[in-house]
Amino acid sequence: MTAFPSVSLTHQAFEPGALLTTFCAGRDETGAVASFVGLARAEHGQAKALELEAYPGFTDAAIAEFAEQAKVRFGLHDYRIVHRVGRIAPGEAIVFVATAAGHRRAAFEACDFLMDWLKSRAPFWKKEHGPDGDRWIEPTAQDRTDAERWD
């Protein structure tokens, strides 16, 4: 088991490979680890940077509460979620999700489930800095449809 918190928000750029290595270490009964890394897109020059605002103590608590439900639903051994906040440049990692389970199906599905929720319902406020100024972004219809698959 890792000594890290299961959910963290960070202003610092993080290295997904290092997180995955740490998450995988020291497991005897986990047969499957699935992971997902979300990166900030440049949108062909339309996005100079992304800015994510969180409410510390509220956002991380909401993510942890949801992830604990996912842990029960999919019978996970463990999970790890790291989410960037603040200003994020194209190409940088925004989110890392890893799930550990006895077998692969649960690990894959739980990772997908967590990401659908994080993308559509997690308490963040997102602003895109583009060449023509800044704009606040709301979840896309596709994000909502993806999340509703699990309801």
Binding site: G38, E53, Y55, F58, I94, S120, F124, W125, W136, P139
Partner: protein, 79 residues
């Protein structure tokens, strides 16, 4: 004194993110904010704006103790 926090577009509109306001109830707090900035008060009561008191979502009226944290949360975007 309640500690008022604004997020997302609400903070942009107000031009501040955090402020102390003297108010004993949520209604009194909204009134105090409206006196200073009517447009902001309207936005705070707009569709999809949720209120969290000490990091728990509340609906309707609430009593504010000293040092209560009141956050106005516009529709969340996801990560």
């Amino acid at each position: 004194m309640a500690r008022v926090l604004l997020f997302g577009r609400l903070a942009d509109q107000a031009g501040w993110r955090e402020r102390s306001v003297e108010a004993g109830t949520l209604t009194a707090l909204r009134d105090a904010l409206a006196a200073a900035d009517p447009d902001l008060a309207e936005a705070l009561g707009g569709p999809g704006v949720q209120v969290a008191i000490d990091k728990a979502i509340v609906r309707g009226e609430a009593t504010l103790a000293a040092a209560t944290e009141v956050a106005f949360l516009p529709p969340m975007s996801g990560g």
